[in-house]
Symmetry: C2
Subunit: 219 residues, 2 copies
DNA sequence: TCAATTCCGTTGAAAATTCAACATACTTTA
DNA sequence: TAAAGTATGTTGAATTTTCAACGGAATTGA
């Protein structure tokens, strides 16, 4: 556990928590760390929504695969970010999404009950944790707004350009790398991969953008 | 203010708040009530995100209209429900959506700062309010998951059927009313209105559903 | 290093969506 | 009550997406 304290202190869930209090707190929360190799499922759809997850190293994705096998990518999850907290806090019986490791991952799982309900010892901490959770949920809400803004566009071109504009804003540069390969980008934009490739080629020919692999330049 | 206490006590934001404490609390929060006629804008895109809104009577919608005038309907907001809380809590500078009244509305606005930051008098209340806000944000998160599940489908038929299935589940009945007219339903599903009408007719002819106005029956 | 696998761009045909226009029924309001 | 306005369904053409299939490039792993 020790080696992750650095990362945990940067996690939004532990914002404003004093380093010296973190260790004892983690045991109180029933925290445990698990490792997942690339492509492994960290949390499968249908499982009980009891845990809040924190990605410590590597990276993961929140995905949903429907009845017909259509895969939709809901969010990229990077170190220090949370997952599963919305379902645990809303007390749904089971999670409606799947979390998969896209790189070898170390993940911390804490029991949501222990976060929300004050225990005998650490009452003051819980208040801060709930506040932090609230902030994290609000931030995730914004992420979904952004995703909805993108996917509400009707054409592949508009979805792609809206996504790339937002990425450029985020990186404060017209040149940036995205965390997706082509199939993942298509799954995030909710479009067909081959159609997306065709559209990217077209935008290149038109001199609107350039790209190599997952590195894009808006011209 | 008095006449709304009943409704306010059922609002998720004031869950577990004792009735006798509510009135004094409202003044402490800088609460004020405003009325909006049908079709009026309650909160316009671009405005500062300082307030948490509560719909007391009537109904409202969260919408976004893009550059080209495409209208997208993000959520229906009914009495006791909140709006704007995600943006206020995430401390974004301005709201990226518009809230409009679909029926004559009474709306309460409270200053988010006053909710989040403990004042001199009512510290114990604030903790409960933050907890309630956290719950509300988690619930709204789920709503967006549901909307994303629907709009991630690739065809109008699949989007419509997924939406109607969820409504049937919600009402625990194959027969139910939806809160949208055809244009609004199209805006929620992110599809063309005329295409939606055509698809509904087709599903009727195939004996899969029946409907009259906004009342649907799944067969 | 070599073989196997994955990733990516291209293509053409089929399917679906969008768009504009119009007719009818319904609602609102003067 | 009549007129104006709104909501809904229908249609056909144009646009766009999806789907399946393929080949070459890049990556992985034995």
């Amino acid at each position: 556990m020790k080696k992750y304290l650095e990362i945990l202190l940067q996690c939004p869930l532990f914002s404003e928590i004093a380093p010296e209090n973190l260790t004892v707190m983690l045991t109180c929360l029933g925290a445990r760390i698990e490792h997942f190799d690339k492509k492994y499922t960290i949390l499968a759809e249908g499982n009980p929504a009891k845990y809040i997850g924190i990605v410590l190293t590597g990276s993961a994705q929140m995905i949903r695969v429907d009845y017909y096998g259509n895969r939709s990518l809901l969010a990229e999850i990077e170190p220090t970010q949370l997952f599963g907290e919305a379902f645990a806090c809303a007390e749904v019986s089971s999670v409606p999404v799947t979390i998969v490791a896209t790189e070898p991952c170390d993940v911390m799982l804490v029991e949501c009950d222990h976060v929300l309900h004050t225990c005998t010892n650490h009452c003051t901490f819980h208040q801060q944790l709930i506040f932090n959770l609230m902030k994290a949920l609000a931030a995730q809400n914004l992420q979904f707004h952004q995703k909805l803004e993108i996917t509400s566009k009707r054409t592949t071109r508009e979805k792609l350009m809206t996504y790339l504009d937002r990425q450029a804003q985020k990186h404060k540069s017209a040149e940036f790398e995205i965390p997706f390969d082509r199939q993942e980008l298509a799954d995030y934009l909710e479009v067909d991969r081959s159609g997306l490739s065709a559209e990217i080629s077209k935008l290149r020919r038109e001199g609107i953008l350039d790209c190599e692999k997952n590195r894009f330049i808006l011209l």
